[in-house]
Symmetry: C2
Subunit: 186 residues, 2 copies
DNA sequence: ACCACCATGTAACAGGTTACATGATTAA
DNA sequence: TTAATCATGTAACCTGTTACATGGTGGT
């Protein structure tokens, strides 16, 4: 029984992108930003920190490519071991944890804020969710069929964003209602 | 113009709980777990690390209480400065960032997995979301009116969890459909 | 003349987790 | 006698961010 290699989600993301071909850190950053990027885009410093580790651990190899007109770059290629590590990470059952968003704390301690401020917070959440919906709907069009399952992650984002707008609408009304009638109508 | 004190969300959470009365680290941990806990429960080591910092920065004071039958404890009380810092944190407009859940990566790279594994992942997400819904519905009953706005955070959790189940249901069907007809019906 | 793109990295910091360590009291 | 409650903390580790640093090429 071979030892299972533990990798982090970010390492899995990079290895996953590398299954699509040899890439540089620069390439990976852009691939992460454009393709799956709305849900997983590590800082570039993180990417450049992780890549050498992948090589050290045997999950990828790198080679220098000297260019005439551009800076020298490192191209990374996933190894067999890297594929195995990725595979076992992908096969692990996913864990979901409910959100840990600042807005929840601000609402929870709402008694300490003017209701108007609370409402403006809720409206901001709604505005951001609406903007995301537009962005994702556009993405859904352009990226049609580029990857076999990418659309399902976009739908995840859409469901999430729609849930946020629903919640924001309900919450806004509820706060306004309590302003008028602060007593609980039980 | 007085300098604004920057505090983290966890510090805000602890200060918020302290507005309800003098508490020990132990009390705070339990308060965090039970009241708002489903969306913000720091590890206890984090709580015990943050509390002395709050004192150092002038946001809280502490006093030792020697007990006969129990270990000596530190009770923390929020200061005027602490209230100001909390207030300005609460008034800052909230930022939302869409989710960064491992399931999304596993779906995104779904081509690397057997469809059956993918489906089992989706089912697990659904199961966890359903469990959360039950938990929150129960919470909604018991905690009725304990805090003025706590119920709105519970509804946030419910909207989120319902969105997850909707997504999971749609996704499961979609994957099954693609198993039968892998060509895209555009 | 200026800006965007290509390309890699370091340094400093922030925020978080799990596991370990200790030890009395009280209820089942 | 066994387990939960009360009560505080340390140590090791991991993951992540922003800001800084460098410098040529190609398009407007």
């Amino acid at each position: 029984m071979a030892k299972t290699y533990e990798i982090s989600a970010t390492e899995a993301a990079l290895l996953g992108l590398l299954t699509r071909g040899e890439m540089s850190g620069y390439d990976l950053q852009h691939a992460a930003e454009t393709s799956g990027g709305f849900f997983w885009a590590p800082a570039k410093s993180r990417i450049y920190a992780v890549l050498p580790q992948l090589v050290t651990r045997g999950f990828a190899t790198s080679r220098s490519v000297v260019q005439e007109t551009r800076p020298t770059k490192q191209l990374y290629r996933i190894t067999r071991t890297g594929r195995e590590a990725l595979q076992s990470w992908l096969e692990e059952p996913p864990t979901m944890e409910p959100e840990r968003a600042p807005i929840l704390l601000k609402i929870y301690f709402g008694e300490l804020l003017e209701p108007e401020v609370l409402i403006s917070h809720v409206r901001k959440v709604k505005a951001e969710a609406t903007a995301l919906i537009r962005r994702l709907e556009a993405l859904e069009q352009e990226a049609d069929g580029e990857t076999p399952y990418g659309d399902l992650t976009i739908r995840h984002g859409l469901e999430w964003a729609r849930a946020m707008t629903r919640w924001a609408n309900g919450t806004e009304k509820e706060i306004a209602a309590r302003l008028v009638a602060p007593a609980k109508p039980s």
